[in-house]
Symmetry: C2
Subunit: 402 residues, 2 copies
Amino acid sequence: MAVGEASFPHMPAIDGVRLGAAMAGIKKPNRRDLVVIEIPEGASVAATFTRNAFCAAPVHVAKAHLTQTPPRYLLINTGNANAGTGSRGIADAERCCSALASLAGVDPQQVLPFSTGVIGETLPVEKIAAGLPQALTQLDGAQWAEAAEGILTTDTRVKGATAQVELSGGTVTLNGISKGSGMIKPNMATMLGFVACDAEIPAATLSQWLRDSVAVSFNAITVDSDTSTNDACTLIATGRGPQVVSAEDERRFRAALTQVLTELAQAIIRDAEGATKFVTLEVEEAASVEEAREVAFTVAHSPLVKTALYASDANWGRILAAVGRAPVEALDVERIVIDLGDVRLVEHGGRAESYTEAAGSRVMAQAEITIRIRLGRGEARATVWTSDLSHDYVSINADYRS
Amino acid sequence: MAVGEASFPHMPAIDGVRLGAAMAGIKKPNRRDLVVIEIPEGASVAATFTRNAFCAAPVHVAKAHLTQTPPRYLLINTGNANAGTGSRGIADAERCCSALASLAGVDPQQVLPFSTGVIGETLPVEKIAAGLPQALTQLDGAQWAEAAEGILTTDTRVKGATAQVELSGGTVTLNGISKGSGMIKPNMATMLGFVACDAEIPAATLSQWLRDSVAVSFNAITVDSDTSTNDACTLIATGRGPQVVSAEDERRFRAALTQVLTELAQAIIRDAEGATKFVTLEVEEAASVEEAREVAFTVAHSPLVKTALYASDANWGRILAAVGRAPVEALDVERIVIDLGDVRLVEHGGRAESYTEAAGSRVMAQAEITIRIRLGRGEARATVWTSDLSHDYVSINADYRS
């Protein structure tokens, strides 16, 4: 199941960026499970990674390689996360990088590895190495959809977003793909996201802009509160297009970047495991952004709120109870206002006088629902997107390995 | 569904404590939904309450009454939580206290009200008042099982625990009952717990001992991470039995109190909504108790761990990922050891060499499972009990109001 439309956008080629996917039979036969992304020489590359302490071997290796030399290739496999695999996992990730490096004629440190799939199983390095020639043969600037398909696991949809933005020096194109459906509560990044553009931006600046945009996009979604061991988001700026020269250029570029990342993040929620609802939580009038996020995530993680959303039951008491248990000091319930879509649910510490069950049910029946919570404590705000908790979520996750 | 044995223990009468239940038709006809507990004059009473900011009207009233005068009656209704009901809810709770007080010949402040059930609906004060004479007629020291039944909501079992402890001045009896099945992540107390004993203990001391015991019993369980608006645990010491005179007396009494509260808390987990597994999380070698609890609750709340438990799938990678995302600074995964029952799952940052899928599956197939996590950071430890996440949990909570 998934919520909303599912079309994959047309993505213009970005000069110098080529993508290729292969069927390497890593976990299942006859599906794209191996992707190579080629980055032109001179590009800037930034990345954010999971904060899970048990971060996967490829995360360790990608972080290390990124500090050594500008990357020329991204190597992504699905079907195996190479996480919880100890020192063996690190060696396996390095071997994959070396295999690609020798085929492509670059240094192993110029390859960043990414893996996603089941945790704790040994990476099938031979299958990956055997699939690389096919992926390299496919390399083409028009293979975004194939690459988007090749990074999926339990996802039911390919996920892509694109934008063009006019800077003073010309048009910049941004293309991005992402994957993710469960174990989604990114912390610095989503499961996997890859974005490229043709702007010319120094790596340090690119890294800061990526972090800022990730904070309000990938780091503002949750399916099930579980942060993956393999989360990573990578941003390439080829430098073959315009520079960002003015404050207005910067504003425009960063807005476009945030837009692309937000579309990719929202696509993950729309395709969340078992999802029947796409839910936007807007928390306003908080004392700090951190506080606003705490309240939003507490509601977004509440199994009772999520099952009520699944049932299309306007059980506003569960929303109220979740807000009330959020880790916020001295919350004054008298000042809290909660709206469900255009319907006032809660004010003055209890149910709004104007509220009717019929009005609440009308909103809850919709596939896309906004819950707006005003705390009456300040000016800060945060938005978080989440899904509901359905029978399909339990089925998918009770059966995943079997 | 529920896990393990379900017998209600024989509870010796506690002199001066009488209980009575009535069918007041608060939400459904023909079920006990109203309970009165009579407390003898001169007794000490202590209570802990939810920390949910949206705490229910009866919690406000009970807290206020408790500061004014020693209580003589506890008045408990199910079918309606009187939460999210604003100032009207406060007035309604007070009216119920007044109704009982005038029938029993005490002051309204000598009645503590407790409510549990659906949030946000107006309390049916007339039904409660009309049921009180029946409850008072039933008052008897042997009505613990009937009272335990009368406080249930979505529970499938009555929950009771009893203990006797020899002090230097004679035998002390402790009896307790509890309710709770969903919206269970108590914070200072469970949904509802009522415990009485015949020891003579000053109220301030009783309050401290209750808090300490609640911390390792009711505050160490979670079904779904949702803290109720109505949690409360009340402890009565009639003073008609022995005093606690020595350090050894104190040690014995507090151990018995913790035992009774732990049995009542565990009974809630065994009867958790949709539960098929009773899971003990033991976190050891933490830098602090708080840190140990954080790790235990992170694992206990993980939907992916909970669905793997439901599936009896030894998907240890999900346990590892949950430990890795716990809010603990500078966790060194190399030092972490995770055992599932008697099977070593994780060591040296990955799967234990000795681990086999067959061994993991053997433990996962059991109804009662212990997950032991050693962090290698210190001497502190904590134990938390939880349940799995099943299709029945979703069904129960997607259908609760319909």
